[in-house]
Amino acid sequence: MSSAVDAAEAEQPAGSGSAVRERQGPDRIGRAVYRFLRSIPVWVLWLMVIIWSVPTGSLFLNSFRHRDDQRASGWWTSFTEGNWTLENYTDVLSSGAQTGGLWQALLNSFAIAIPATIIPIAIAALAAYAFAWIPFRGREWIFIGTVSLLALPNQVALLPLLQMFSGGAHWSIPGTEIVVTLIPDFSLAGTATAVWLTHTAFALPFAIFLLHNYISTLPGELFEAARIDGADHFTIFWRIVVPLSVPALAAFAIFQFLWTWNDYLIALTMLGAAGENYPATIKIASMAGEFGLREHLLSAGAFVQAGVPMLVFFFLQRFFVRGLLAGSVKS
């Protein structure tokens, strides 16, 4: 694609909705066709909206249907039969052999997602400020190196991390019998702490990238003035940078909260068999895997798990979108 004008010239005026052609003569059929063609894209969009909403809507409606109804017929039949119930929700939340026990799992999800959101923000904001405003040797390369890690697949670190959490890190000096303990065994495997520590490490490259993008655009004169007044970096960071960066911090917080709330892989790996610590994603995935007694609770369970992110999404969509947009679109 060369320049814009070039390309515009290259296109023959063969477009279906050519205004130039319209001028050549009023033609009733032509106009009707033209108007019809113009309206097609809008219909395509609304068709897309329907197709994109139907799966979630199906799940939602199914979650209010009795077990036998769910097994025998599709949700669309309930519009005429009208046999709705809230039983699935009460069953899936309460704990028991035949029920879901999702309430505890939701608390576990919070126990993972809240620290995994707050801690990376605190650490990344400090680093982002330093990368943007404290000159030091090798700054650019350390920054680029760190941020490039955001493409790193989680899988490459899971196995060593699990080993570290479950047994510490030891180095046996080659050629000798000597083993040096580099990191002691804190027996973290199976705990929520292992999960959010892992989340923190994986979140940092993106968090630093996003916050750096924002913090580096703050006006430098402000910091100069503060420095002349005798403020050190810490004061500047705490009194000026943090209050001014609230939009970026919020954007990242929401993004990270949704990400950790919806995570399955890291929790599954780090928690292993510690079922009492499972977050909601693992709970509903295991309900989906058993094809048995509790299958009628699955739609309610999936909806409960999705409820929190959906609420966040509906009320804080602007921040979430801002987090997604950071770095990809130059405004």
Partner: protein, 525 residues
């Protein structure tokens, strides 16, 4: 409730500890000029403690000794005391020059800010990455060296790479469809080129047709060359292209529609749902029940309902009437295009009429949709086993991720479209360009960098697809992908070598993307 208290305590302890460490070090380095001795003494204590720990480890020589057991503690405290005193002595004897302290101070300041993040990145990402690469050269238990044998196992195993079906590519309809599309794009390009006096002129629309052909070709290839590795590539190609294309489509149309934000929210909503949840949602869509029973999955219900539209039941004639009307409209459009010499309209409507004519033939003849004729001529439901029928069950699984990711592409591309400078668009309009020309000539070239960003982000995400496959098939029915294979090998079989090698293969897959990102950042700064 204990979980929440745990979370609360975790936050308090972690934030408190890092704040305390940060504050103490920061204050300490702030006092470098005045209290040099404090700094040297503290570093002496730290170095001594570490040296003592190492020394005690050297002495005991066993990892069975718990850390901070009696004798070890003596070593650490002793080392810390000796080194601390030495450090204090050094600091009291010789304060460094003001210039050196200020240089050191600024470096240390930066370190206090960057340090915690670097610690996490090093311990949580870089060292594990290196260890995974190291482990991938070893056997199941992680002790016997195997060289590259694990990688050899991955790429010579028919489960992960099976190229024996290559001849089937040339027999598939997808392949011939792609040939037709390529020929079509080439013909248009040659015709346009002759008009402009060059060999071939590839406009945006011909490139678009070409990309469509490439996608069909990739489907033909991936449906015949099977295995875990090929499945993963199929995911990457199909999800990346289709999500981006659908997201672009939605963004472009929504940009000119009333109630734009409402439409966009609904397409974007799946982004908030977990992959696990999405897998469950789509499992309900894909349910197939025995033919005698009524279908509970929406897609099969529609499919079976279509099958009941047959000439014998009369339903087919309604369908044929609808289709015939649409065909007539398209024919009229085609004639209109020919009369007005609008070749794109004529070709487009003629092309669109072909599948309709084919559908009419199917409705009158063998029937459309999921039904077969029973012994008495009555239709019996024939369902599609979306999840079980290989190889296209892979595509039905990809639909789940496309459903999620389209919103992501749409939101970012929509913002990019709105960021196109309006004076550029105005200038093109003044020059007489219509909407189509403005889009292909101005908007699209301007947002190409953003499209690249979206696609690279998606490649990274799709490469490691795990949750959806695990929840929906767990890799059965020929849908295995590398990430799920890696998980099963590593965490159910505890085959450290093979699991690590699979992880490294995933890593190698994103290395080009990382390189691209690094180059982009270098250029940006």
């Amino acid at each position: 409730m204990t979980a929440l208290w745990g979370a609360f305590a975790g936050v308090v302890i972690a934030v408190g500890a890092s704040a305390a460490v940060f504050w103490v070090t920061h204050r300490l380095f702030g006092l470098v000029e005045r209290r040099w001795a404090v700094v040297t003494a503290t570093s002496g204590v730290l170095a001594g403690g570490a040296a003592g720990a190492v020394a005690s480890g050297l002495r005991s020589g066993a990892d069975s000794t718990p850390l901070l057991a009696g004798s070890q503690l003596v070593w650490i405290v002793g080392g810390a005391a000796v080194f601390g005193l030495a450090g204090a002595a050094v600091g009291l004897l010789r304060p460094p020059s003001a210039k050196r302290t200020s240089a050191m101070q600024s470096r240390l300041r930066a370190l206090t800010f960057v340090g915690p993040a670097m610690l996490f990145v090093a311990l949580g990402l870089i060292i594990p990455l290196l260890r995974t690469i190291y482990l991938s050269l070893f056997d199941k238990a992680g002790t016997g060296f195997r060289g590259l044998a694990n990688y050899g196992d991955i790429f010579t195993n028919a489960q992960s790479l099976d190229l024996s079906g290559w001849a089937g590519i040339f027999g598939s309809q997808l392949f011939w469809g792609s040939v037709i599309l390529f020929a079509f794009a080439l013909a248009i390009a040659l015709a346009r080129g002759r008009r402009r006096g060059v060999a071939a002129d590839f406009s945006a629309s011909t490139v678009g047709i070409g990309i469509g052909g490439g996608l069909l070709l990739s489907f033909a290839v991936f449906a015949n060359l099977r295995g875990t590795v090929m499945n993963n590539l199929w995911w990457v190609v199909a999800v990346t292209f289709l999500s981006t294309a659908l997201g672009l489509l939605a963004a472009v149309i929504a940009d000119r529609t009333k109630r734009e934000s409402f439409a966009k929210s609904l397409i974007f909503l799946p982004m908030a749902i977990s992959f696990v949840g999405a897998g469950i949602i789509w499992r309900f869509m894909y349910i197939a029940r025995p033919p005698q029973k009524s279908q509970t999955g929406l897609l099969n219900a529609i499919w079976v309902w279509f099958g009941t539209l047959r000439p014998s039941t009369g339903g087919a004639w309604i369908a044929v009437a609808v289709l015939a009307t649409a065909t007539a409209m398209l024919t009229a459009l085609c004639a209109f295009g020919v009369r007005r010499r609008q070749s794109a309209l004529a070709i487009g409507s003629a092309t669109a009429a072909i599948p309709l004519l084919w559908l009419i033939y199917r409705f009158i003849g063998p029937g459309v949709g999921g039904s077969i004729l029973g012994p008495n001529g009555e239709p019996i439901a024939g369902t599609i086993l979306f999840v079980q029928e290989s190889p296209f069950n892979n595509v039905w699984l990809m639909v789940v991720l496309i459903w999620i990711q389209t919103g992501f592409a749409m939101v970012i591309l929509s913002a990019a479209i709105k960021a196109v400078p309006s004076d550029l668009i105005e200038a093109a309009r003044v020059d007489g360009a219509d909407e189509r020309q403005v889009f292909f000539g101005v908007t699209l070239p301007t947002i190409v960098p953003t499209i690249t960003v979206v696609m690279t982000a998606m490649i990274v995400l799709v490469m490691k697809v795990f949750d959806i496959v695990r929840v929906m098939t767990n890799g059965n029915f020929g849908t295995q992908v590398i990430a799920n294979e890696m998980w099963q090998r590593s965490f159910t079989e505890f085959n450290l070598g093979l699991g690590s090698a699979l992880a490294v293969v995933l890593f190698l897959g994103v290395v080009p993307v990382m390189g691209l990102n690094i180059r982009r950042m270098q250029r940006g700064e």
